[in-house]
Symmetry: C2
Subunit: 415 residues, 2 copies
């Protein structure tokens, strides 16, 4: 089964928003055994949408459309579906009841005429209930192909996928099992890894595909395969993992499918009943934000401090002014002192800190743009590490966060 995702909206084509819906839908479809053949982002234009529906139907079995279902004049998906399916809009009482319920419960304002038009739906469509919004989803069929329309608002789309689209697809089609396993590696380049695992790659059976995904200080190695019987697929994958993991053992930190590194760290800390505090300078909250965005962070994350100004490092964190004067605010000594101080301040087992210059200009220190120190305090002691992270502000920040997580993960894994 192949799917084609069509995301509608000028805001995508002028670069005003990043289309995150497609990635969510693709991942969810893969998880139930549907491959995505193509993703097309098209304009809020009737002819363009009609052309895309025809093109998608020619190469896929399932066509999933998002966007263009709002109550305003720039939303034209429903009328375009009517033209494509030679259909007309009819009033649906169930949809209106739901819209009225949402307004009464959440909006607490009277229903507008434009909101009522949400209850007009193509007569041939099966209506998919949108728990989180007023625009219903639609399911239509033509020549054995399924066409699904959902709103573009991400959380409404996700609710529809979870409660309506995925269960119906699983029921209607006999789907294979698709399996991806992605090895997270840190500290070795793409071509160096490729050279090291060349023999493995050459011997890989044709039904298992290997891909390299390099980004900012790490390379992800993905093995992908699929088949009718889950047990066979799992077993075939396991055979390859047993060969591959030992080849990259020194740079391997875990499987991406188990969650990102901050989640692995969080789980380890929770299991070991250990706590964490953070003090950030150049990363400005990006480290703590990675932990706090996950549920369960309150189980190990006691607190964090962003000491952006030098005086905050002294007054709030209690780093010795003489130490800063002697070594510069961007130094191994200060990174380590920050770790010791924040560990004490929040009374935690582990602490991780960053100090550096992310650019574009030199800040409170004379060090070169891209200079970064990461400090770590553990129950056993403290340490600091030096890195050069390039000269692009956002990349310096992201690389530093990745490196800090990697070092912390290593420390926690020791005990």
């Amino acid at each position: 089964m192949k799917a084609h995702i069509i995301t509608i909206g000028d805001e995508i084509l002028i670069g005003q928003i990043v289309d995150t819906n497609s990635a969510y839908i693709s991942k969810a479809l893969n998880a139930i055994g549907v491959s995505v053949y193509q993703i097309s982002s098209v304009q809020d234009d009737k002819d363009h949408i009609l052309e895309s529906l025809a093109f998608a139907k020619a190469n896929s079995d399932i066509i999933i459309v998002t966007g263009g279902l709002g109550p305003t004049k720039d939303d034209i998906t429903k009328s375009t579906f009517c033209e494509y399916f030679d259909d007309e809009l009819v009033f649906n009482q169930e949809v209106l009841d739901h819209v009225e319920y949402l307004f009464e419960k959440y909006v607490k304002k009277p229903l507008l005429e434009s909101n009522k038009t949400q209850a007009l739906v193509p007569s041939k469509a099966t209506i998919l209930k949108n728990k989180y919004g007023t625009a219903p989803g639609m399911w239509m069929e033509q020549d054995g192909k399924v066409f699904i329309s959902m709103p573009g608002v991400p959380h409404e789309m996700k609710g529809l996928m979870e409660y309506e689209v995925l269960p119906r697809l699983k029921e209607q089609f006999h789907l294979p099992y698709i399996l991806h396993k992605t090895l997270l590696t840190y500290g070795m380049g793409e071509s160096a890894i490729a050279q090291r695992i060349e023999a493995f790659e050459n011997e890989l059976p044709s039904e298992i595909k290997l891909a390299y995904l390099p980004s900012l200080g790490r390379v992800r190695l993905r093995l992908s395969t699929s088949g009718a019987i889950k047990e066979d697929v799992d077993a075939a994958m396991e055979v390859q993992l047993q060969k591959l993991v030992p080849l990259v053992a020194d740079v391997f930190v875990g499987y991406e499918e188990n969650g990102p590194l901050e989640l692995l760290i969080g789980k380890a800390l929770t299991t070991k009943r250990k706590t964490l505090s953070i003090a950030e300078s150049c990363t400005g909250g990006s480290v703590v934000q990675r932990f706090a965005s996950n549920a369960g962070a309150s189980g190990y994350l006691v607190g964090s401090t962003v000491t952006y100004a030098t005086r905050s490092k002294i007054e709030v964190l209690g780093v010795d002014k003489a130490l800063i004067d002697a070594h510069s605010v961007v130094s191994a000594e200060v990174a380590e002192a920050m770790a010791v101080q924040v560990q004490k301040m929040y009374n935690t087992d582990y602490a991780i800190t960053t100090t550096g210059n992310a650019g574009p200009t030199k800040g409170d220190s004379d060090v070169a743009v891209g200079t970064v120190y990461i400090g770590i305090a553990t129950p056993e002691g403290s340490n600091a590490y030096h890195f050069m992270m390039g000269n692009h502000r956002k990349r310096v920040i992201e690389k530093t966060v990745n490196k800090a997580l990697e070092l912390l993960h290593e420390e926690i894994s020791k005990n």
Copy 2:
């Protein structure tokens, strides 16, 4: 001039990464007068790429391809281009020199055979220098249409766009001027705004398009137009803005093109020589991270504290334990006390704080999931505000950040 962007990579179609390159390219093309007709994400598969090139050529003048240029076996863009253009790969000394330079300067490891293959390029291609990586960009032409290939690594692609692709497109084509103006509004729903500006929308000249972009507590209103003469386009837009802005004056906070709200706040603080500190609980660093990701934040952001655990609010921030016991850690009283305390701790003019329960389960407080208090301290005094932000963790966090920025912006604009 119409462009078609093709992003190649199975990682996009299985939802392993979000394609952010397309948004960047679209925005950059719009800025020089090129409209994007469609974005297509396709598999690492020769036939599929060939089909996409033909489809894109049929409806666009400029075809921009990213991805598939790495040194590993899953990278097939160059060989596919050779097939499409009936061409062959030839050795290019200039590219090899650049690869050798990068390895010497940054990688500090000997060149591998696979890295040398980067110097093999289609004979008909004009080579575009990739300042930040080993895979060169390529510019090819066929029947008056331009085909551009760039690596998928975001910062390499961005460098190629800036230094090679955009200057060449501007030189080769006579391009119109495209103008978008996006009004950021907070606190009113999409359909309510649409009703209020209905007469304006009906009278809008056909060459100016209006779009509504609702998301988590705010609606963006975008006016888009284009023309041959910049001055005429600007004047026509100004006429409409003069009509539209007064209609939404009570919910209008600024133009998106001037940067996001945190940038507007940062500029205002810098101009007024005022400083900011932040104390976050439920948002876990997401507020400070918004400020710190922008250059220049060190000019006004003194520091911030994430007091995730209740004991941190007492021990680190100095919030009175009796106050927490009397009102709960998630309360207006605590949000306001946090603001007063963090303002004092970092000695700043303004302070903003968050405390709430982002879910999924109840934390250190008994309040319902989604309950949020935002505290603000200014040179004149302090205050706190109560909100219900729904029950989805990441959305609660994002809505709270948006609301905190909105309230802070309002306060700063008063003085």
